[in-house]
Symmetry: C2
Subunit: 187 residues, 2 copies
DNA sequence: TCCCGAAGTCAACAGATGTTGGCCTACACT
DNA sequence: AGTGTAGGCCAACATCTGTTGACTTCGGGA
């Protein structure tokens, strides 16, 4: 069973992503990951050093957000919701960030960085004021992550039962408002 | 150090709630809980049998939702947001449900039951159709849990920086819409 | 053909975890 | 004063965890 190192490394990373996504940080054991990749646990250590560094390697993500400047300003909400929905279903990235970020501080930091670095700038382009933009980004994240949480992690039956189109129809106005709506005054 | 059993039991429960809230299910060890309660780990077993049953005992919650029939229909959103916000800050209930529910299936089930049993009926009172109501409940839960996630668990800086009043001002229209808004048609 | 480095395995370590059972020991009752 | 019981502690178990180091084996270049 001889393979080039890169193939094995990739197999480990793939297995690690799957485990982190479904089990969270602590329950995703190196032994289980190694078993999934059909190698000895010590190989994981050889290639990644330790569990923390394995996670760091497995959780390097690009949310691959769309260019919202290309879409009409009043459809920006729908575009973002639709994008997040497919993003969630297409790979494990968001699932990993959520499942691990809740109980592991390093993972939480990673989640913060990913969102700040990728969702932030996108919204700054849309709104002028950067301070405002950060707040709006947090609001968008709260609704998108919250729906993902209910639908894919906690599996609330009504959330699971909704069709993608229903979700889009309900969430789009919310996201649109968070993005381009007037700032409400707290009284 | 002799105490009536009920006092010890209560001390264990309190310590367990705190640990489950901050560490999640797997990282909250019986030994740590016992140490917090100043007793031997075996006492936990004597009183609760095993870790699963300890969790079940520690996660019996009443969301204590307000009677929305007493508030004007157009302020129902604000009332709910305000309630969840204080609920989150006043005790560990929601924090426990979120932190454990993400990585532990039994805890996820508990979260589903708590929300279905307590948020569901409240909304059925507000909307006629029970099927509709479940969907609306899921939408409300998604936004409330999502904001809690960003603010208290992942600690997104902009979400943490928002004042309670700002959060209320932003989320209320969303929740109001999920509760009493017209059903959008997915096309 | 030989051989050296890289790919892979094996066995074990130290520590942590849930859980068990035996043993004290204080105290309310007779 | 004697005693039974209930609150509490201690030591140990089997298992799992991350991690380490020594060993084997394949395969390409000299």
């Amino acid at each position: 069973m001889r393979r080039p190192a890169e193939v094995t490394k990739a197999a480990i990373l793939a297995a690690a992503r799957e485990r982190f996504a479904t089990d969270g940080y602590e329950k995703a054991t190196i032994r289980a990951i190694a078993a999934d990749a059909n190698i000895d646990p010590s190989m994981v250590m050889r290639y990644f050093g330790n569990k923390d560094r394995l996670f760091a390697a497995a959780a390097e993500f690009d949310l691959d957000l769309p260019d919202l400047n290309a879409t009409p300003r009043d459809q920006v909400g729908t575009a973002l919701v639709r994008h997040f929905l497919t993003r969630w279903q297409v790979d494990d990235a968001l699932q990993i960030l959520l499942r691990t970020g809740v109980t592991n501080e390093a993972a939480a930091e990673r989640t913060r960085v990913v969102f700040a670095a990728q969702l932030g700038p996108l919204i700054i382009h849309l709104v002028g004021d950067p301070g405002q933009a950060q707040t709006r980004a947090a609001l968008v994240a709260s609704q998108m992550l919250g729906m993902a949480l209910c639908r894919y992690i906690l599996r609330f039956p009504p959330a699971v039962a909704m069709s993608d189109d229903e979700v889009i129809a309900w969430l789009s106005p919310t996201i649109q408002n968070y993005l381009t709506g007037e700032r409400p005054d707290p009284h």
